[in-house]
Amino acid sequence: MNFLSPATALIAAGITVPLLVAMYFLKLRRRQVVVSSTLLWRKAIQDLQVNAPFQRLRRNLLLLLQLLVLAGLIAALGRPMLRGQSRPGDRIIILLDHSASMNAEDVSPTRLDEAKELALALIDDLGEANDTATGAMVISFADRARVVAPFTTDLALLRRAVRAIPATDRRSSLEPALRVIESFVQGIADQDAGTTVVYVISDGRVRDAKTPTLSGADLRYLKVGRDPRNVAVVALSARRDFAQPHRAQVFARLANYTPGPVETTLTLKIDDRVSRVLPVTVPAVTGTGPGVKPLWFELDMPSSALLELGHDYSDDLRADDTAWLNVAPPRRLRVLLVTAGNVFLKQAIKAVGVRKLVTMTPAHYEHQHPDQFTRRVGMTGPDAGYDAIVFDAYAPVQPPPVNSLYFNASPPVEGLTLVPSSAGAAGSQLILDWQRDHALMRHAVLDQLIMLEPQRLVLPETAQVLATGQAGPVMAVVTDRGIYHVVVGFDLLKSNWPMLISFPVFINNTVGWLSLGGRSEAAVGYRPGQSVTVPSGLASGPLQYEGPVALGTVESIGQADGADLVTLPIFERVGLYRAQQDMSPPWDRLAVNLLDQDESDINPVEQIAVSASASSQGTHSSVTQIRRDLWPLCVVGALAFLMIEWVVYTRRMYL
């Protein structure tokens, strides 16, 4: 046990102990009583002193107790702490999880707060080591890692950084954090400059696709969390009926992570009015996963509407108790196909069920004014423009103002190019991997797709790769100024894709997704960590969204070049954000939901699987106890001694 503030304790001891002793030896003000004779009293005192060997000690028992009380208080001033595991010379990297599951309230007040306490205790340990070579780095991680305090020995800076780590509702992934520290750890190991101890303070609910690796550091996992209860809305979606667009089908799924079945009441609201209230029983968690209760509603929604679905079961994570969905108004799709002639593509687009399909040659397309492509829903006149444009083997001169799909071509977007396959590459290639969980690739199986001389995509940083071939990315989504461009890097007619079922499925997914402005469904819902670009045409002044009180306020930032679009900050917390200016649906209300079956599973895990390379030593994951403040115990001890002293004082005449 060491003291963080020994000087304070010594000063206090130097003042108070002599004062107490001096006061003790001051003459006690005694009550004077006249007695008939002091003869027997004197004799009794002498006898007692002679016959009681511990009489001196007994007389000083009160003083001893008072000194013990004082010692407890002085020790508390000195901030005693239990000796921890870190050694002088250790470098410490603290990885602090601030994902959605860390907002669970199974520990008071939240897991994140307890994690911060643990991190602060580690930093205090560092100060105790009193070694200038010892320093620490603090990194917060969820689905992304951020260095909140670079490597420093400034303990105040470290403490401030830890306290400032915000709560988020993002997914949790350890891999990005380990990548951030990898080079640093390796550098230390190479220089043989001491040991690096990496503390992962988390509930262990990380969802890395593969086991992360770390070399050259001693990894220690500090578990946060106890036995939580959670029932979550893990899925909420809505689709409009093709035949009856005014009707919408709402799909939802509840997941129960508690050992027993849970009875709760589900409330469905439409535009803040209660539409359905139904009691549901969600089955208990099983060995294979949480207990799931699927739900289905069919609602009549002729215009845009805000759906809110929530349950009233009191659990430890509130972020997933309610989900919102902004259902867009029904619309008939208008698609423009720019091609020199591709019957497969035309038939596939027709199969989607678009209201109007216009086919143009590339030359005809270039003679059109760009404004003619912009979709306008005719309130006063006929519909105009297009919901999506499909370019077949043609790259437009200017980026179209409408969401588009490109086959064997790419829009003139900065950072995006198509690179022909190298001479040595195989003529026919297969798809090696594709993003099965992306909305565009839903139900699209590409393992039988064969491409002849595909081109490789060179993508900007913001692009999302959909499929990767042997030479590199061949399908991707690029966002430019709020416009989505889906690029396919091979010629349809030089592949067997039109013959595969996955082709019309992909066309269906893509046209629908592009028509809805980057959404796969008729409803709009965002996830924490996402950023959204909204048109600010009607808004005067800076665009501002206000969320629930607990979630703070979203402020507008920047403006896209020349376009009346603004990009909002990344959503960090779930909830419903309402525009403070006049905005047209669906941008007036932005729903941000967790809807993550993995993140809603908040049961803490005992160990995190982290593999170490062969050269590393001591890299392991384990549960480690760390130092803790002992001053509350000292204060409690002092109070206990005070009580004993009081009892002895009041009862000493009768003991």
Binding site: S36, S37, T38, L40, M653
Partner: protein, 306 residues
Amino acid sequence: MAESDTTTQSRDDQLLSGEFMRRLDQLDVLSRKILAGKLHGERRSKKKGQSVEFADYRQYVAGDDLRFIDWNLYARLDRLFLRLFMEEEDLSVSIILDTTSSMDWGEPSKLVYGKHLAAALGYIGLVNYNRVHLYSFAAGADAQLTNLRGRRLVPRMLQFLRSQSPRGSDHLATVCRRFAMAQRQKGIVIIISDFLDKGDLADALRYLSGSRYDVYAVQVLAPGEIDPEKGNIIGDLRLLDCEDDDATEVSVTAALVKRYKANLASYCRHVRDQCLKRGIAYMATDTSVGFDTVVLRYLRERGLLG
């Protein structure tokens, strides 16, 4: 607790009630020894004298009073015999009352209690035509009322007792020596005191031993002296001796009280042993016991009254 003079005065106004005096009329002071008196009295003397109680015969010698010749015997035996009768003398009863300041302690104070005892014993002595002597001693201010005899002097005796107030201190040895010098006559001596004397008790009692006195020692204590908690003597105190102003600082704890009680018992045993060693009858009482009980029961049990 010391008692004010006013309280003392009010308490000893009624030293003897009428009812109590009627009960005392049936008692007399008894001596374990037959002691010679000065005057004819109601107590049988060793000497033969003039009373109605026949004692013996003896031969007539010239000069004897012809009135005591038994003429009936002369008629039968033709010899002169003189009839002898028992001589009755009075008994000297000396009551020594301790009036030092230590006696003015307790509720009721030991002095008041002692005055009651002295009044009762003096009354018994007076109504039985004994010669009653009252002595009080304190700090060189001795007072005495001697040679009282007969019922008519009861008020004077009570007045003397009422006038005694606590004052100063004196060693018991000095008191006993002064008494022995003043009272040369044989008789019963009753000393009423708390015997809480810092001097040598054996030295004091030495003056009262011997065949001249038949001594009774009555030790009077207050309940607060026997159990300090009853006297509110507990806690951090500065004890002040009411006689010599000797101050003692004590923290009165349960252990100390226990030790005090043991010392008190030991001291009382010491007083009793010293008394018995010198043929002095010893009796201890405390002021919580009614003085009528002491007089009518305890003193009778010990043979002082009968």
